[in-house]
């Protein structure tokens, strides 16, 4: 029943997509398409929540006579799918709401409107799919529609390049998953997930499947070193789509990974966790360092997606480690942390992209070096963006902190693990996690400070206007969710329990029963956290302080020029920029990670030109992994290209040699 509701929503979205092609050029199309998407997403969201709260023993299923003819298209909404459907449709609904306003400024609506609902439909289908063919079909369909959205502003050369790299990487990922499913399904082509579950893969196959799943799902999620497309493609799309791609699509990729490793593949081995943990840790740290070096607001956010995917994978890796060692309660904790972070990231990353979209609408700028002082012109957007920044920086009392806190709690359980490899790796990963959390805060001080605070650096920033009410509504919704999930985390954790139970067979303690709405992962004596009280305490003490000070202190207030140690300079270019803000960090980490080099060009004495400083950053992942691949392809393509220009006689010689070779084989070997 619920599965079919969701499928109807998907069908509706697809119909809207088709209709949108026809009406895209009319002005009425924008509200119609986004309104319909909003409605469909809400219905699908309700259905997904129903699935999450419903009876986990009997998940809703549906079989359509589509896809592979002798199998049909299987769909199923179990707890895991229901949770991810919730994330998908929540993001979808908010993005549609946001786009009701944002979409009006779109310069090429005919390149966005048809693909947006199709993209939503694709993401829903991936999560619903219950056989390998439908899964991959939807997976690639999702990539394709998002590619089309990335290419919406195709005249910008960078976007075309982004689209290219994106789709090639997406295809690479799909092929990896295709091979993985090929192994899981076996020679007979038992492609339904039920059949795959029933027929567990042998250990050797499991290694291959895991590797392929990491490559396939990881490339979509943005796991280092498969992340290169992400910071290019996500920012290139219109902002509501960026929000969906970063906030939601990467989660669908995480879903794929969980589905394969924790559900289809059978009991994990402990060293799988090593790989996942190491990748997760590196991803988290490298993602945030990249973000720090960035001055394009949307690209900065995209790099933070990479970081957060790393955090999620750390949680998943811990869950695998515990599960492999039979410590199911700790696995439940780690998996909860990962899934909670999935939810959180989808919320605050969407919020932040909405905010960056609002800035883009108001100023036409993505480059932070050209912004500044927006807090005066766009107070609401600024406030929402600030909430997002606090949340993503994992600061209490917002939601980002809760999931990171849970991850830390899970890490602290890992001395229970017997394997030495894990014993050494887990603390190191913990350090990386702590480091990336701290760096994330730094990065968002930079992002928020440079963009919204200070003085406007350009006229467009000085003349920005607050955005429309739909955008504000969407942002407020997610800002409120950030707060709610932060102060009432127990509700979310309890909501996740059916998923956790279905995957690891154990659950965390019931949180709703804990007094004062605290969350207690294991026992109160070991650790607990109460977001609500922290929030109330901060609120109360701040109010108290304000009250007391207003009672006793002087109320006098005078506006004057900034002090700035007595030498104020009115030029906005004297402010710290994104690059200068990051300079200390660049000195500390950049020289190793990015081979950062600074060159200063001093004009000769007497020359009145200003001195210039250049910073060279190198993307080592690109240089080590991707550039050689591109080089090999180019080299081979160049080398064999001469075969296009042979004479007929030489072509005949090829035929002749092929004939002789085959005859020799026949004559000699057979």
């Amino acid at each position: 029943m619920l599965a079919s509701v969701s499928l109807w929503c998907v069908a509706f979205l697809l119909t809207v997509a088709v209709l949108a092609t026809a009406i895209a050029r009319r002005p009425a199309a924008t509200p119609i398409v986004y309104g319909a998407s909003l409605a469909a997403s809400l219905v699908a969201l309700a259905s997904a929540l129903g699935g999450l709260l419903g009876d986990p023993a009997s998940p809703a299923t549906a079989i359509l006579p589509l896809g592979l003819p002798w199998i049909g298209a299987h769909f199923r909404m179990d707890a895991l799918a229901a949770f991810f459907l919730t994330v998908v449709n929540l993001g979808g609904a908010a993005a549609s709401l946001y786009a009701l306003g944002y979409g009006r400024h779109e310069s090429a609506p005919s390149r966005v409107l048809p693909f947006f609902p199709a993209f939503l439909a694709g993401m829903n289908l991936v999560v619903l799919a219950d056989d390998a063919f439908s899964f991959l079909f939807s997976w690639e369909f999702m990539s394709l529609t998002s590619w089309a959205l990335v290419m919406a502003h195709h005249r910008v050369a960078d976007n075309a390049r982004a689209g290219y790299i994106y789709l090639v990487m997406a295809s690479f990922g799909t092929f990896c998953l295709l091979l993985a499913f090929g192994l899981l399904a076996g020679v007979d082509g038992a492609y339904t997930f039920a059949a795959i579950r029933a027929d567990r893969a042998s250990p050797v196959l499991a290694i291959l499947v895991l590797a392929l799943a990491l490559l396939g799902a990881g490339s979509k999620a943005g796991l280092v070193p498969l992340h290169v497309w992400l910071p290019l493609a996500h920012p290139a799309a219109p902002s509501h789509v960026s929000a969906l791609m970063s906030g939601v699509m990467t989660k669908v990729a995480v879903y794929g990974f969980i589905r394969i490793t924790l559900d289809l593949l059978g009991p994990p081995e402990w060293w799988w966790a090593m790989v996942v943990l190491a990748l997760g840790g590196i991803t988290a740290a490298l993602g945030v360092l990249h973000a720090l070096m960035e001055h394009d607001l949307k690209r900065l956010l995209a790099y933070h997606t990479v970081e957060n995917i790393g955090i999620i994978y750390i949680g998943l890796g811990l869950a695998l480690a515990f599960q492999a060692n039979g410590v199911a309660w700790a696995a439940a904790l780690a998996l909860t942390a990962a899934l909670f972070h999935v939810f959180n990231h989808s919320v605050f990353k969407s919020l932040l992209f909405f905010g960056s979209g609002a800035v883009l609408t108001a100023t036409g700028e993505r480059d932070m070096e050209h912004l500044g002082g927006l807090i005066h012109r766009m107070p609401l957007t600024t406030f929402m963006f600030l909430v997002g920044c606090v949340a993503i920086s994992a600061l209490p009392p917002l939601n980002g902190f809760v999931s990171e806190w849970l991850t830390f709690q899970a890490i602290l359980q890992s001395p229970e693990l017997p394997q030495w490899g894990l014993k050494v790796l887990v603390p190191a990963v913990g350090a990386l996690l702590a480091l990336s959390a701290a760096l994330a805060a730094t990065c968002f001080v930079k992002a928020f400070g440079i963009t919204f605070l200070g003085r406007p650096r350009t006229p467009v920033a000085a003349n920005a206007q607050e955005v429309d009410r739909f955008s504000i509504a969407a942002m407020s919704l997610f800002a409120a969710l950030c707060l709610l999930a932060g102060i009432l985390p127990g509700l979310v954790i309890d909501g996740l329990m059916p998923v956790i139970v279905s995957l690891v067979g154990e659950r965390m303690p019931v949180q709703i029963a804990v007094p004062w709405l605290s969350i207690v992962p294991i026992a109160e004596s070991r650790s607990s956290y109460n977001g609500l009280l922290v929030f109330v305490f901060i609120g109360a003490s701040a109010s108290l302080a304000i009250y007391a000070i207003h009672r006793v202190a002087s109320h006098a207030l005078r506006r004057g020029p900034a002090w700035d140690c007595g030498s104020p300079n009115r030029s906005p270019t004297t402010q710290y920029t994104s690059g200068s803000f990051a300079q200390p960090i660049r000195r500390v980490f950049g020289t190793v990670v990015f081979r950062a080099r600074e060159h200063v060009e001093m004009p000769p004495p007497g020359d009145s030109h200003s001195a210039r400083m250049h910073v060279d950053l190198r993307d080592l992942v690109w240089e080590i992994l991707y550039a050689p691949v591109a080089g090999v392809v180019t080299f081979v393509a160049d080398r064999i290209n001469y075969l296009q220009f042979l004479t007929i006689r030489r072509y005949l010689r090829l035929v002749f040699l092929a004939l002789i070779a085959l005859l020799t084989v026949l004559g000699v070997w057979l």
Binding site: S518, F537, S580
Partner: protein
């Protein structure tokens, strides 16, 4: 009855930290001056400064936004909440379970986050310098702190401060290598977090070397008073933290009588004084570092913390 007593203890703790904080700051200043053979300001000078600031008018930069005005209160509130959750004289704090050590660290991080934003709000170059350097320091100090938390939590089997100090009090904890490493790391972190020499100089206004002072450069009047108080609170918090973890003797356990509280308070005061003395000694004996040597200093803390954690992971007895 016990609940009321716990509640009273909690309220008392909040007030005590608030009142004691400027005193500690003044004490450290006094000692430092004395070590330099100066007379130094009286012990209550910080209180006078605060009152004086409260009565001054606020001169707000033309460009300052609402965030600039809200930030001091937020910073103060988060720091206060964090300080209220660290056991000072007794472990039986009513709301100690609200936030564990990780959350306390994160609360301080929130305070710093807003402070750094406030530094950037007016759009001056000094504010930017301060914020940028502060965040650089934090981005190393925070993971180091987290590693210290890990070491302690693994030893105590809990991240709750009250449980940790309880375990530290118990006889089975002897001298451990990892504890020593953690202590060393925590001291480094505390120095960095409180903008003390050699990382920062709380007394300087020399433009190119300041970090914390650069961020609050544009503040005046009551806003500055609140920020000063928050800074004092933070210093007290760190000293209390070191005390309650590494020298927990004299802490009043839950449910102790009135007499216990008196003894606890006295012990706390003594330990605090000793802490302040040591800090002053250290600050006098050492020179300020160049800003770009600070990462190495903090990196050392991070490595020590990580080493401590690793040792705990590998062996229960180290």
């Amino acid at each position: 009855m016990a609940v009321i007593l716990d509640f009273a203890a909690q309220v008392a703790q909040m007030l005590v930290v608030l009142l004691l904080a400027p005193l500690l700051t003044g004490f450290v200043r006094k000692i430092k001056a004395r070590l330099l053979r100066r007379q130094g300001p009286p012990l209550i000078q910080p209180y006078r400064d605060l009152i004086w600031l409260l009565h001054k008018e606020v001169v707000l930069a033309e460009n300052a936004s609402w965030l600039f005005r809200v930030a001091p209160y937020l910073i103060f509130a988060t720091t206060w909440v964090a300080a209220a959750l660290v056991p000072t004289f007794g472990t039986g704090l009513m709301f100690s379970w609200t936030a564990d050590l990780i959350a306390i660290t994160a609360l301080l991080a929130s305070a710093r986050f807003f402070l750094a934003l406030a530094g950037m709000d007016v759009g001056t170059s000094f504010g930017g310098i301060g914020s940028s350097r502060e965040m650089m320091i934090a981005s190393l100090a925070e993971p180091a702190m987290m590693m210290i938390v890990f070491t302690l939590a693994l030893m105590a089997g809990s991240t709750q401060l009250s449980t940790i100090s309880g375990v530290m009090l118990s006889p089975e904890i002897g001298l451990r290598i990892s504890l020593g490493l953690a202590l060393l790391a925590l001291i480094i972190v505390a120095i960095a977090e409180n903008a003390r020499i050699p990382v920062d100089n709380p007394a300087t206004h020399l433009e190119l070397t300041m970090v914390h002072e650069a961020m609050v450069l544009e503040y005046s009047g009551r806003h500055l008073a609140v920020l000063e108080l928050a800074a004092s609170l933070k210093l007290l918090l760190y000293v209390s933290l070191i005390i309650c973890i590494f020298v927990p003797w004299g802490l009043v356990p839950t449910g102790a009588g009135h007499a216990g509280y008196v003894i606890g308070a006295a012990a706390y005061a003594a330990k605090l004084a000793a802490g302040g003395l040591l800090l002053a000694l250290f600050e006098t004996a050492i020179a300020k570092m160049r800003v770009f040597r600070v990462p190495n200093f903090l990196g050392a803390a991070l490595m020590l913390g990580l080493l401590g954690t690793l040792l705990r992971f590998i062996s229960r007895s180290l």
